[in-house]
Symmetry: C2
Amino acid sequence: MLTVKTSSEAEKIIFDTFGKSIAPTESVSLLDSVGRVLSEDIISKENVPDFNRSTVDGFAVKATDTFGCSDSIPAILNYKGEVLMGESPKFSIEKDQCAYVPTGGELPDGADAMVMIEFAEDYGDGTRAMLKPSAPGQHVTFKGDDVKVGQTVLKSGTRLSARHIAALASLGISKVSVYKKLKVAVISTGDELIDVTETPSGAEVRDINSYEICAALDELGCETLRVGIVKDDLSLLEKTIKGVIDGTYDSSFGPCDMLIVSGGSSVGVKDATFKVYDNLGEVLFHGIAIKPGKPTILANINSKPCFGLPGHPLAAYYVFNLFVKPLVLSMSGDTSKSKTVKKVLPVSLSIPSNHGREECIGVKFIEKDSKEMVEPVYAKSGLVSNLSKIDGFIRIGRDCEGISQGDEVEVELF
Amino acid sequence: MLTVKTSSEAEKIIFDTFGKSIAPTESVSLLDSVGRVLSEDIISKENVPDFNRSTVDGFAVKATDTFGCSDSIPAILNYKGEVLMGESPKFSIEKDQCAYVPTGGELPDGADAMVMIEFAEDYGDGTRAMLKPSAPGQHVTFKGDDVKVGQTVLKSGTRLSARHIAALASLGISKVSVYKKLKVAVISTGDELIDVTETPSGAEVRDINSYEICAALDELGCETLRVGIVKDDLSLLEKTIKGVIDGTYDSSFGPCDMLIVSGGSSVGVKDATFKVYDNLGEVLFHGIAIKPGKPTILANINSKPCFGLPGHPLAAYYVFNLFVKPLVLSMSGDTSKSKTVKKVLPVSLSIPSNHGREECIGVKFIEKDSKEMVEPVYAKSGLVSNLSKIDGFIRIGRDCEGISQGDEVEVELF
């Protein structure tokens, strides 16, 4: 029998069933890899830098030769020659010797420090006087200081940002192996639904969810197929769902990796999604004890996760963020969790107990007494405009007896 | 004479000169608008909902008729009929009358509350007994409760996320007016630079910056033209810069809105960018008193901002985030500042004074004593791999005398 699950039971079922499903990989050019998820560890084949490099214009020395020197007691070193930019030195440095090296140039073997040119004098007799001591390693980036051969620079599962792309470029990686974008199909069901381009009459309402969910998936780097509205008709819904799963519905999109159906509020719609899922595969749960979002469904059809979300756009959005998004990220190979930013701040108002049921409450950030705080935004059922005002949400556990003004809460940012 | 500017002077020059330059607008479909910047206020032409809507299955009543009723003393009301889903009621409710309305259905005129069907009984004589009082507005979403005609729902300058797209869909907006993507050309200069596909010999280094900066611009929603490497040759650099500014360099990309040149470290390169900028337009500043990033240049060529960034990828990235990104967002019309997330957390280590010069220090988030803290990541000059480890950076003002362990700092997240 399918009973209502707690949110942690639901999460466990989701990941026990689909946690190992990960998108296949493909190779993309470095410039196209921003926002994509790396599908292999990046292990350096090179030392970076590849030689001991000076970070100043000056003299390469053995540091010990300069210890204790000063303006009044300079260290007199034999001048061995100049290292040219972009060339490897053809000599080495022995005790009491030095060589000129420009910024970015290579230190000769034997040298372990640089003295800046400002602190050296040319005595005109083949020697140079060092007026300031240098510690070993001073003004030098040693071979492999940045990255050593064999070092793991980036882990598989990293969502690539500009900083990672800089690291890849420095290693000479122009093609990057990434996970393919997850393909997700999105359907809205309900006889009362009309497209966004139409004007409602009577109790008709516009289909908000298919746009909202596609946009949310887009933000997570998915490829989406917005099927749009399917009327509350079992055989039509079943045919459509079969088609998006086997790829015949839209052959250019192909078979989806995940399906999200959100139900309208008309009587029987939730049943329709359940019945079709039950016909075509196995329903894993039907109902999560969380407010909002109780009528959430998960089914396994051809090893693909198929969600049924509540019809209300606000409820659908919470359920998407709580239960769908973590699986989307996991199936996209993303292990960096970089997409969920959390902020811990005090609440500006007390929040009463929710009487034994886990609850999500939308919040916005406000400034109060010149301190950043979190304010709950209570929305009457149906208030879409609120969705555009809130910055994130807090979760109040089923056992929580309410939150007092000034208590710190963890906000999950949208 | 061009003197080195403080960072706030530099910011003022940037915004005084280019703060009013904003990209032109275009119309895109709702599904394509995610991540784009709204270029007009969205003012509702409709009430949402468009009628007084029941949120339960039950009886529409005048709330006053139910006051004081209970199981033992029910309020007996004359049954006026049923409102069908999707239809407007053809009757109104007077004193001591009620009508059945389903969830989502429209309340008849005169009714101001709903009594849930669980708390009503059919006496079989044309009356219904209400067993529980309802307050005015209970279980009802009134016309315009969500959005009223003439109400501003979204402000111009909002970067559209899934939540905003839900609000637009609810208002029936299928085409959205947004700012065009900012077109930015990116050049790396320096004789020592080789492309990422090549293997360095001698002191050659791979061009990291053009990839890094293009990726960072991509993250901000820009269209980029990666010109790549231009050798350190005044006339070639001038010809290239002219071409990207007037659009002849790449006619499919057209004239850029902004140019970013980053200089290599070879001698004379910074001068080359400066000289070309000076020849073609007006150099507004040359040098910012900040570490890293001192050699930063800003010029105005044909009313377009042209930056010169340091050659070092880490320094270029800081300067990009501090000075270029705010202008990119402003020119993209983005007033929501949503792209800079800040976190305030204590530091895990003391950070010494920086001796009178403003400084950016890369940091990562760590857990210490089961508390989230910020740890500075000190990078020797040239350490690219660090860029992929840090989560953001802190700015230490020129007048700051150091930060003590446990002090709270504001981290700007990358």
